[in-house]
Amino acid sequence: MVREVSESCVESLLSEIVLSYCSGFYANKPELAARRIEAIGFQVGHQLSERYTMDRPRFTDNLEAIKFICKDFWSELFKKQIDNLKTNHRGTFVLQDNRFRWLAHMSIDPLVQASGNIQDPSAMAENKSAQATGMHLYFPCGIIRGTLSNLGIECAVSADISNLPACELITLITYNSFSYI
């Protein structure tokens, strides 16, 4: 049975999570706030992977698990697949989404962008907005980490948003249960 939820509700909830953690609970400690948000994502990813891999056999190796995330998992969450997957065959995977749904409404101040690194205050403001945008990516990173962890693969996930709305999620696999087979 497929249950549906309104997309605006999910997006409003996510932006409110980031806002309350960053300016409410951990006002001057962005690293702590980031960790908490990522932990929430981890839990969610854990549960989601349980649900979406219910009828499937076990994955044979890392690449299969990552491909599952790129295709089926991403389509369940965002109704589209990951646009580009790159790997160095030594445990690092880069998942690129050219139009990340949760970042589609975000946009930065054009004046700040134009002034660049000329004066200090404007550079600071640009960094602040980049930081604020970055905070919104801890949740998806946590989701991927939780999903892989439930499949037996420990990893670290980081995000790169050099050009909005495209988003790159970099997954570094640290331990997996397949190396002993």
């Binding site: 409003s12 946009s107 930065i108 054009p110 004046l111 962008q113 604020a132 945008t133 919104h136």
Partner: protein, 188 residues
């Protein structure tokens, strides 16, 4: 009884083009009179400083709205002053036209006022204003980096609005290039 003749009797007015001597601007105000956005695509004459201009515009529309509601001959109860109404409820003013420009106006139930100033031969812009309001909801309200009540600084929003309004402008210019003819015949 013939009322108006064709174009050979009175000279037809010059066909206005989308860019030319016709003003083309957009204002967005919130409930408290803060000007959230002012975009200008063509404005040949500027008489006031921008702050005075915004205050004047907001005051004008506030008064016009209450005036039109109070003078409504069809409804018995008049709403409270300044309270935005649901679309379709009560009497809502939507545009005025002079010989040099037309001003179209729309107010949302949350008090967001959208104003578009275009050339005088523009048709009904209510649907366009609704579309721009939808763009506002998508790119401004849903943007987590935006604080409500502050001027809008979103590149995405500015870009999409620019594209849309320019598209509107070219549509109207094409329509007006066909020569108009005024023939109004009333028979006894």
């Amino acid at each position: 009884m013939q009322f108006f003749g064709g174009t050979e009797i009175s000279p037809s007015p010059p066909v206005p083009t989308a860019s030319g001597n016709n003003g083309n601007m957009m204002y967005i105000f919130n409930r408290n009179g803060v000007c959230l956005l002012y975009r200008e695509w063509n404005r040949p004459l500027k008489t006031l400083s921008s702050q005075q201009d915004h205050k004047l515009m907001f005051g004008l529309l506030f008064s016009l709205k209450s005036l039109t509601a109070k003078m409504d001959p069809t409804s018995a109860e008049k709403g409270n002053l300044g309270v935005p109404q649901l679309p379709g409820q009560g009497c809502s003013f939507h545009s005025f036209r002079t010989n040099t420009y037309k001003l179209s106006f729309m107010e949302s139930p949350s008090g967001i006022k959208l104003i578009l100033v275009t050339h005088p031969r523009t048709g009904d812009l209510r649907d366009s204003l609704k579309y721009i309001y939808n763009l506002y909801v998508e790119y401004v309200v849903k943007n987590p980096l935006y604080t409500p009540g502050t001027p809008i600084r979103s590149e995405l929003f500015n870009k999409t609005v620019d594209q849309y309004v320019r598209g509107l402008g070219t549509e109207l210019a094409v329509m007006l290039c066909k020569k108009p003819s005024y023939v109004c015949v009333l028979a006894d």
